[in-house]
Symmetry: D2
């Protein structure tokens, strides 16, 4: 990649979560970071942390993951990380929307919120990313013009009693990733999807769950965001002869 600085774009970042850990992991590989998220203040704090650790990171707050928000934020990203000095070569769509309710209690707004954040945002994000990737040259080591990954969950492969809003969106995201993987493989663009099956040890989940009681201490029963990030870095580095569309990630002791 010579003197062109590679950039990772992440949508969906929260302190201590998968997006933040992935950003940090790619920064260690020499990437600049464009971080898209709601919650401008928290996002800026996270970017400040990354910068004090020596990374080149920029916050791109959005009011929502609607397609217009996504399109608009990419204009700012291109201004901040202009070609030919920078090239976006990796992207993670990690935004999600957690909602578990009995079907008849779901409002249309609930349904739309899941669709917008999970599918519409990913659609717009992918169009922006793939348009950029197609202009990149092919990396010699990996055979890639770019790497695009989506974060899924067990809800991506199984509808359940309380997931009648989330499951349609997560299945939709998975379908998008499969279609894109098939369409853009021959462009040497690598598209992947990860099924995260288990609770991730984040400040958010620690504040929310205490069942089983020792889940935070017991490394066998929950995911570390850093370990998910390692998997994403691994996938980004897979050489052209052996690319993965999908893998699952779960703690050693997870019941499934």
């Amino acid at each position: 990649m010579s003197t062109i600085k590679p950039v990772l774009v992440v949508a969906g970042v929260r302190a201590g979560g998968t997006g933040a850990a992935t950003a940090a992991a790619f920064a260690r590989k020499g990437y600049s970071l464009a971080l898209i998220s709601r919650g401008a203040e928290d996002l800026q704090a996270l970017v400040d942390d990354l910068k004090s650790a020596g990374s080149d990171a920029t916050a791109f707050p959005v009011p929502s993951y609607s397609a217009p928000s996504i399109s608009s934020v990419f204009q700012s990203i291109h201004t901040r990380y202009p070609s030919p000095h920078y090239a976006i070569r990796a992207a993670l769509y990690n935004a999600s929307h957690s909602i578990r309710k009995p079907f008849l209690e779901l409002t249309l707004a609930d349904f739309h919120a899941a669709q917008e954040t999970i599918v519409e945002g990913a659609f717009a994000f992918s169009q922006e990313i793939i348009r950029v990737f197609k202009e990149n040259d092919i990396d010699v080591d990996t055979g890639k013009r770019g790497f695009l990954i989506f974060t899924g969950s067990t809800t991506s492969i199984r509808g359940n009693r309380t997931t009648s809003a989330a499951a349609p969106a997560k299945w939709g995201l998975r379908a998008l990733s499969q279609s894109l993987s098939k369409e853009f493989g021959e462009w040497n663009i690598h598209v992947a999807h990860a099924i995260i099956d288990g609770i991730i040890n984040t400040p958010f989940s620690r504040s929310r769950f205490n069942d089983p009681p020792n889940w935070v201490e017991n490394e066998d029963v929950r995911l570390n965001a850093e370990d998910i990030a390692k998997a994403y870095v691994y996938l980004a580095e897979q050489p052209r002869s052996a690319w993965t569309w999908e893998l699952d990630l779960r703690p050693a002791h997870e019941k499934w």
Copy 2:
């Protein structure tokens, strides 16, 4: 069902298609028909045909399958087929949106059109239907308060190069059907999903496809809407001990 007249509601009806054939098949079983579709004129013509054949059918044209359209049309349906004289006991969500384009040629409007017609409409339709079903008594023969089926396709289980708008929506619909099947089984509400794998012999497809040349004449290579309808009637009549969530339907000679 004594003197209460059962009603089938179908969303997505076109002359000679799956919706129309299902309507006719349920009419022969004694159901009144509430038919929701775009294209008021064609819909009325189809309803007139059904009525001349002796069925009790009513046209409920909609401008779109958006949730508000669906909610609004159900008010008209309840007015036309009021309780306790009528009871909606079967429903088919057959509306779909065919779109095959390279990903980067898709507009946001394309994406939304697929989402709205396939997923949002089904979500709103299902809420209306299941609310009604929960008020029904349990049919002695089938053990059902009601039967709700969704029409899927191979795009429902496989993303492909030109289906990056359609596949997310159809996978989403399938996820919805699975979630609802799991949530409402214990309410004795039967929710099913059919994967139609092949071309259906309709006026529309006859006007559009002529490959292979003899496909209309060759009964082994395409689906008849009437045969899909028979499958839907069969599913509606399955007894409580053995309900199907999903089946596939394809012509004898289909390559798959």
Copy 3:
């Protein structure tokens, strides 16, 4: 089928079970019955019952479902139901082998028993059946030379902690059925697979399970063999334009 008598062959028959119920259901449609099973005495008693009910049924006891046993028993079937007076037009492979053990407690004999009964037997049975089907003419109503169905279960689609012997065999059976469905569709031979998800109310299961306490009385929580048989008859009668490879069958209240 004019004056040629159609024959159903069933492998895996036990009083009150799926095989027996399917036999009775096809007998009511005019089929003669060739019933293959272990346990000669019980099999003969069941055949006697079918005969007193007016069916034409014959017992073909086997020492095992090994391929040689299956091949040998088909010679007897052809002798008893000779062409051109009889034509085998439907077949059910219903033999299974229930084994749930921790992996390290499984013996090689356990493993082989599951493989032999579930996969090897089905392989040999299918070769016998499809060779015969290919000689049949095509039925006008269904477009079929013959119908072959396999009984699967949730173990057919999910490996679990105690199914490391059963799951490989049941997944193997499902793979066989899918391969055959694809290969012989163009021969107008219909191959199907049913996933039975739940407990079946049979003398055997009644003697074995009493959890939940009222499961036998509660029609919403278990399958009736007769209802599975109805599904098999339905599939056998599907017309050529709309054949099902796979459906699932479960009680209304089944958790899944």
Copy 4:
């Protein structure tokens, strides 16, 4: 792992193939190698190559992958790599049996050969391996007592016209791997399955296929065994919080 030397056991090794490349990759990580294969002479040549490259490798030729052969060869492995000086900590079951024939041309011997090499061998191999793994201590970095991986293919997830012998065996192997992953995760034993989708560039495939004409030169259309091996090493090193049961691997330009 202090002064205890880790050992990788591979079943199914051929010069230039996945097994050999995986052996070499683990050797570079400090593993001793126990290589099981048919074809004693070729196996010894391969072991000699590994040894000249500085690896500690031993050939364990087998006449077949039958369970008795596998059990017997493990006695030799334990003699050669005795505890506590050595500990088997990784294992690859890579043996397969390629057979593509129309169903009615398959002999029972064909069917058994696929079953024996693909499923029975894997069953026996897994029992030997997991018994050993359970005695290991838990590795601090990975949280594992051991890592067991199986090589699958697209035939593992799709039955096709000419795979009615291979698909039942490969689906069976995948089911075994899923059952074991679920049963032994809580023992900190990591079981994985890889779906290799595409042609692998080996001496064997180069001698056999020349379609498309430039497939050997074009790095985008075929897998390198070394890249599959990299994936296996990555999986072996996944930390306890994020283990993968299954991933797919295919060339950038593969049509799927």
